[in-house]
Symmetry: C2
Subunit: 339 residues, 2 copies
């Protein structure tokens, strides 16, 4: 059977060639009824050539890529990425774009994925997050010429629009909250050491602690998992002068501490106050509920998607700001022992 | 600049045309080092024609599609779909396949997505879940000829390999557990009424309850959200002879009941036992922890991905079974009041 062209389909349906093109490419410009009819006829005629035609005509893939560079174990407990996917997809689907997803266990695999996606014109651009301390991704994407938006960086990035995160103010509000409750020795269970925001938050904590005489901060590195959070907390608590409050770089590690408090030999919040960086349903349902930073991953991800679509459309996009984090005091933070 | 061909790239790198083809299509057959070199050279030469070439030569898209047909609100709290994506991706990425993702607010949008993906050769096949009571998707996919695997059906499906879920045995173990604790009136807070497994579980519950004299079951429909779970529970508890134990069709609704027990005027488990269909970290961290059915969404999704790859490769795949659910008794189920 001869492969049908857009003209064949237009003739069969009795609409314009443009209407067929709109319908087949998922763009606005035809009514839902007409779109449905066109897609039905196109499918019945065995029409299959669109992505080929698109690629050869330098048209769009109508696809945005995101590589999730965490272990499957973290992915399936930490709500952050599902919120991010939901936010991206809400914006993208309204514009007729889809989301291309891959898991990458290491940076080499992640870089290969970007190369392959771009070489195959599988995506029109990518959203990145979790800037690493030494991160080869921005350079690769600049080399490839792949439009990219970076979610959650400290500052601007040459050639790549970013959504900036101002974490100093959030960290300062956490320290103020704990200092007002009489805490002097503050622990910090960090995320993976190769993530730039892990380093950034530790720096911001040291700065904020330095502004208040008599405070000290003690770091222990975690890995975003329950086990890692409990292990790091145990290390902090075994010090001669253990902290009376601990800030956790994600929700899962803070929740694990509350749940395993008895094994750790502490009562939360009587002996130990617990504060989580990422609020989520997990923080809200444990008892005591966990004081955490509310933030709108869904809203911010929708913003990132809009920036990327603008970049693809016009060749440039302005930097943006992540929505500010707001401290939600709950039962897990209380006056320091002896206060 | 002339568009480079695979032959140009092979000459430049000094390898065979086949090696270039393997590397560019993400297939086995070249060493990681060679693959990297080929991709670098191809990118530097501006090679972009692969998906066009693939589409025109009837080769693979190396892409599997999944449409998530739930509200963004449910998606970002319920861990089920993230576990599913993690399981699919683990298998797919090992085979050089990517995952194409879309959100669909309604069935019309979901059907359009399958039509468009297939018309554009964007995917080689799709994984479906949540069979609806009246579900137009299997027929559409058969019409289109799109390879598809259905996750979690009661029985076989013409032309579409399925992963069958035997829920009778799981439901029976829940009823036995509750009956042994002395519960006679059992509530059931259901998922959305248009999902076939909602109906199926209600039927299975009625059958299991019917096998034990003196038991009765009382249904209330929920929507998988916290608010919906609390509302449905309130309806059940306002009956003249309220149930002393409630089975919830997902984790989020069960957790919401435990967290809002005081507002609901009950103590869990003293007045009300709570049992959840889907185990997750949420069930494990609330107090009392929730008796729930453990099941391996990640493992089962990996199985679904393997079935779909086999179907794409060979044109057929056998039906499979979801791994059995195992009841994990925890603190939320206890002897019925007065027992």
């Amino acid at each position: 059977m001869k492969r049908p062209t857009i003209i064949d389909i237009a003739r069969e349906v009795g609409v314009s060639k443009a209407a067929v093109s709109y319908a087949l490419n998922g763009r606005a410009g035809v009514s839902p009824q007409t779109r449905e009819r066109i897609l039905d006829v196109a499918a019945a005629m065995g029409w299959r050539a669109s992505s080929a035609a698109r690629a050869l005509s330098n048209d769009r893939a109508a696809n945005i890529g995101i590589v999730l560079a965490r272990s499957p174990e973290v992915l399936r407990t930490e709500p952050f990425f599902m919120q991010m996917l939901a936010g991206l997809e809400q914006t993208l689907s309204a514009e007729g774009f889809s989301l291309q997803l891959a898991l990458a266990a290491d940076t080499g695999t992640e870089l290969d994925t970007y190369r392959r996606w771009w070489a195959e014109r599988r995506v029109d651009g990518v959203v990145l997050t979790d800037l690493r301390v030494s991160d080869p991704r921005p350079e690769l994407l600049r080399e490839l010429g792949t439009p990219a938006v970076f979610f959650g960086t400290a500052g601007p990035m040459p050639g790549i629009p970013v959504l900036r995160a101002d974490e100093d103010e959030a960290i300062r509000s956490a320290i103020t909250h704990l200092a007002e409750l009489g805490h002097r020795r503050i622990g910090h269970v960090q995320g993976p050491a190769d993530l730039q925001h892990t380093v950034r938050r530790a720096d911001a904590l040291r700065r904020a602690v330095g502004e208040t005489p008599g405070l000290s901060v003690h770091h222990a590195s975690g890995d975003y998992t329950e086990e890692g959070g409990v292990r790091a907390t145990r290390r902090l608590l075994s010090a001669p002068n253990p902290p009376t409050a601990v800030i956790y770089d994600n929700d899962v590690m803070a929740v694990a501490t509350v749940v395993h408090a008895e094994e750790l030999g502490v009562r939360v919040p009587a002996d130990l106050s617990v504060l989580a960086w990422d609020d989520s349903m997990l923080c809200q349902v444990v008892r005591p509920a966990i004081t955490a930073f509310a933030h709108s991953v869904v809203v911010d991800s929708a913003t990132a998607a809009r920036m990327l679509l603008e970049l693809i459309e016009t060749g440039s996009a302005d930097d943006g700001e992540l929505s500010p984090r707001k401290l939600m005091p709950r039962g897990s933070t209380a006056p320091a022992p002896g206060n």
